[in-house]
Subunit: 145 residues, 4 copies
């Protein structure tokens, strides 16, 4: 696998802009490391709602977060706008793994990289379920070549 | 009305402890002013659930926030533990006004004072409703003499 | 004073867009009331930095929040983008009061209205100071007619 | 390595209590997955300040977060109080890896497990530095047998 820290925006087929907020910075003057996961969540939730058509409130089968990871390469800071990129890294029977990268305004390579794993579950029993076919098709479209 | 900035912990019949979190501080090294409302919310929600018996998810009539205000007298800072005091300042037909004060560890008088107004509404139509009788009784118990 | 709940976007000479985040919604499915102050802060901080030229880290005299208030008229909800409007309501010797309004995507009148009071202080002693002349000029430009 | 999901509170030599806040829950009625990292941060920051004596503002060499990971086994929910456990999993030349576990009130085994990696850096140049000797001694005391 190529080194994820060398990826650029064009390696991510889904990319959104996230304006930082004043209070995203902590006492040390940079975006607090917990907030990186807020940005991860932003790109994953928007992708799942807008591209895959997930509706967490009403769907009988919906994705649940089972693992997230972030590696911090360089600080991000308010007031810059962050670009958050997503690509589908792995599609299992019930789970999908997104590779995520965050780019600062002047960054060519990511300030942070990581992943986000969703498992589809029955919304009542919480037992894992196969990825619905239509969503699997969407994930394939956004997968790495 | 006596000056609320001179009140002490014993003027508040309901008082809870709130440990600050590292990230409650902002770039300037003090608790960010938005977080004061997080502490207000903490004491109001806990009072409404534990004392008044409010269940926001299931009750047919439940309180909704219509106005909040905070005056900032002195900074609070992580890692201190904050005391949040509440007293019922006014009981209307549908609404109840809580006076709130936040005390730092070494404060005799409040670091911040303010209020929080709840209106009881029909959970479906959102039309205002009289305060349920049992809750009104609780509010009277915690009202200023 | 005209009823602030009837104001529209054009009554606010400074207006920014704030994308909501998934987690801005709380258990009840609407933007949590504390977050409204996050949006207030966003528009005030950006105005002070970009228009008035405030630099909280380096300026010898800088604005400190002494009072904020919000009235909640209608719920806001992720994923809508909120318009936050600001106008200067009152200019004192040391203090400036901003009137704030938040508009949902389909709102003509505000979903929430409130104010935000900044007092200029000496960054070391925290004693109040006259508003620096250049900033006073900016505030006058954004004041209500 | 024993399965971390089977660990209990007594496998963690450093353990703190974290009261959840109303707004830690998201729309789905459980603690939002980003907040788990807020709890991770709480236990790591408190350990580093109180046990290892870290002072992020003044120390010439201080720890910086380079990687965090969380696996979500069962939901946590407000209003429960969470126990956050920490043990030192690995001590390198410049870095220390903490194993973290979060326990709900009725949990014998963790609701979430993960790790948090700190690298000590020169606060000016951000170049990595050996762990200061006194801190290394503390980390050894809290390491797994």
């Amino acid at each position: 696998m190529p080194d994820p820290t060398r990826r650029t925006r064009k390696d991510f087929p889904y990319l959104i802009q996230i304006p930082t907020r004043w209070s995203d910075n902590d006492m040390l003057g940079h975006v607090n490391n917990v907030l990186y996961y807020r940005y991860f969540e932003a790109v994953v939730v928007r992708f799942q709602m807008e591209e895959a058509g997930v509706d967490w409130i009403n769907d009988a089968v919906s994705p649940q977060t089972v693992e997230t990871l972030c590696r911090f390469h360089r600080p991000l800071s308010f007031p810059e706008t962050v670009d958050a990129g997503l690509r589908v890294e792995r599609i299992g029977n019930s789970s999908v793994t997104f590779a995520i990268a965050l780019f600062g305004e002047d960054d060519e390579t990511p300030a942070a990289t990581g992943h986000f794993v969703h498992v589809f579950v029955d919304s009542d029993t919480l037992e894992s379920q196969p990825i619905p076919a239509a969503m699997r098709g969407v994930f394939e479209k956004f997968a790495a070549p």
